[in-house]
């Protein structure tokens, strides 16, 4: 077996080890590579900048722990910016795991007394039923979530006063990693009611969401951890996402490199005469 044949059949665990090293290194020693902003992030940011103190925003948390590393930093960055602007936030979720993320975000502000529960912020909990639930909530918010996560009546909360359907929120943001998510919000609520819809998505879902952005149904889109990093820098508070950008760059280089080496090995071993391969 020649060198290139061996390279073709390299043990995958060597690649795995390289990937760990390459991604972990910049976590310990950041390189600080520059970053540019994508259009969809700028549009997202502009929509949020237009909001005034006292406006109300609905945040739909449609993700689970498995994908949280790519989308949760977005939720953190955007919520932080909204709270700084004095905007009130209602959290809801159509994924079982969603409500826990809202708790994580709200808790520090509630503990410090910066926000008052039921007035500045509310966690409407998880509503089962996927697409049907999104539709039903979109058309009748309080009726579909009569109690919050802790079993308190939502109808009497100051933050929910005057909210009939989702049009009564100034902006609706869906943070999402799959289905039900963007497509359901667009098809079941944005289409019929014409709400102001922004989406923060894991990167995987971005290509599938692009047609909705092109068609104007989604007004702004944050794309994965990089979207979160861009948003952090735009709103002036660099956090965990910005710190991860170097690791992403090196990880990309490794994968591009392995595609190149894999191809070189493929062509070199094809050139050599074969006797022991089919």
């Amino acid at each position: 077996m020649s060198f290139w044949d061996k390279m073709q059949k390299i043990d995958r665990r060597i690649i795995y080890a390289l990937l760990v090293i390459v991604v972990a290194f910049p976590l310990i020693r950041p390189l600080g590579l520059p970053l540019s902003y994508s259009d969809t992030t700028l549009k997202f940011f502009d929509e949020i900048e237009k909001l005034q103190p006292g406006d109300r925003v609905l945040i739909s948390l449609d993700y689970a722990p498995s994908g949280a590393a790519d989308v949760h930093p977005q939720t953190v960055a955007v919520s932080k910016h909204l709270i700084q602007k004095g905007v009130k936030i209602a959290f809801v979720s159509f994924w079982e795991a969603g409500p826990m993320f809202a708790e994580q975000i709200m808790q520090p502000y509630l503990d410090s007394g910066e926000l008052v529960y039921g007035e500045d912020v509310v966690n409407l909990g998880y509503i089962p039923g996927a697409n049907s639930a999104i539709r039903s909530f979109g058309f009748d918010c309080v009726g579909s979530a009569p109690k919050d996560l802790n079993g308190k009546d939502t109808a009497s909360m100051p933050i929910m006063q005057g909210i009939k359907d989702c049009r009564d929120f100034d902006v609706v943001i869906d943070f999402v990693m799959g289905s039900p998510g963007t497509a359901a919000w667009v098809q079941q609520v944005q289409g019929p009611l014409g709400i102001n819809l922004l989406v923060g998505s894991v990167v995987v879902e971005v290509p599938a969401s692009m047609p909705f952005v092109q068609a104007g149904q989604v007004k702004g889109l944050l794309q994965g951890l990089r979207g979160a990093a861009e948003y952090e820098l735009l709103s002036g508070s660099a956090g965990i996402a910005a710190a991860g950008m170097d690791a992403q760059s090196l990880g990309h280089l490794l994968i591009i490199g392995s595609i190149l080496v894999g191809n070189v090995a493929y062509f070199m071993s094809k050139k050599q005469p074969k006797n022991n391969k089919q």
């Binding site: 390299i10 995958r12 690649i15 795995y16 990937l19 991604v23 590579l33 520059p34 970053l35 540019s36 994508s38 259009d39 689970a64 722990p65 498995s66 994908g67 949280a68 590393a69 795991a97 826990m100 708790e103 509503i127 089962p128 039923g129 996927a130 049907s132 639930a133 539709r135 039903s136 058309f139 009748d140 009726g143 579909s144 802790n150 079993g151 019929p192 290509p207 599938a208 692009m210 047609p211 092109q214 990089r226 950008m245 170097d246 992403q248 760059s249 090196l250 990880g251 990309h252 280089l253 490794l254 994968i255 591009i256 392995s258 595609i259 080496v261 894999g262 191809n263 493929y266 062509f267």
Partner: protein, 209 residues
């Protein structure tokens, strides 16, 4: 009757949804039905657990190979459910709340996060093994993938300033075109399948029980 009633119910539910979509204001039966759907879906959650308890309970009782794993599964299931029920029943007791959050943060989330992380490893080994310029088609796929990667990572901009431009054209124009073609076709396919469900022609989900 065992077949006709479900088909009739299915048709009725679908028509209520459709009428609501095409008439102004809220169609009252739809508002009610939506709440019913939420309640029924909540009951469905338990079906999966009944399955698990049957399978793993049997493993433990007859001491099959790997019964200890099945036992651990059942212990986790019961413990998590108990803590959750206590948390909702006594929202003022801090212990249950903290315990529930800890179960979630330290037992349920970590394996999920690692499974997702493993994808990164698999993507790298799959790119090494499979992304070969074997044919024109494969080469097209490969080049598009590499250009987009270089356009996305900050380091690509340092290599050639045009990478982000080309990659955003690929994402916004070429990708949107391809996705749109698939989407329009799939919408027609999905329409026809939904129609068959509504008319009771597709009833795989009603059989087998």
């Amino acid at each position: 009757m065992r077949k006709e009633i479900p088909i009739a119910l299915s048709f009725l539910a679908g028509i209520i949804m459709l009428i609501d979509s095409f008439t102004p204001g809220n169609f009252a039966p739809r508002v009610e039905l939506s709440k019913w759907l939420i309640i029924m879906s909540a009951f469905m959650v338990g079906i999966a657990s009944v399955n698990l308890v049957r399978i793993h309970g049997a493993n433990v009782i007859s001491r099959r190979k790997g019964w200890f794993n099945s036992f651990s599964l059942l212990v986790m299931l019961v413990a998590f459910t108990y803590v959750g029920v206590m948390k909702y029943s006594y929202p003022e007791v801090e212990t249950w709340k903290v315990l529930f959050q800890n179960f979630y943060d330290y037992i349920m989330s970590p394996p999920a996060a690692v499974m997702y992380a493993i994808i990164a490893f698999y993507v790298s080994s799959a790119s090494y093994r499979a992304f070969k310029a074997r044919s024109v088609e494969a080469t097209v796929l490969l080049v598009a993938a590499v250009v987009v990667m270089l356009g996305k990572a900050p380091v690509g901009e340092l290599i050639w300033s045009k990478f982000p431009v080309i990659s955003s054209w690929l994402l916004n124009v070429a990708n949107t075109t391809g996705q749109r073609g698939i989407m329009i076709g799939a919408a027609i396919g999905g329409f026809v399948t939904s129609l068959r469900v509504l008319l009771g022609l597709e009833r795989g989900h009603l059989g087998g029980v």
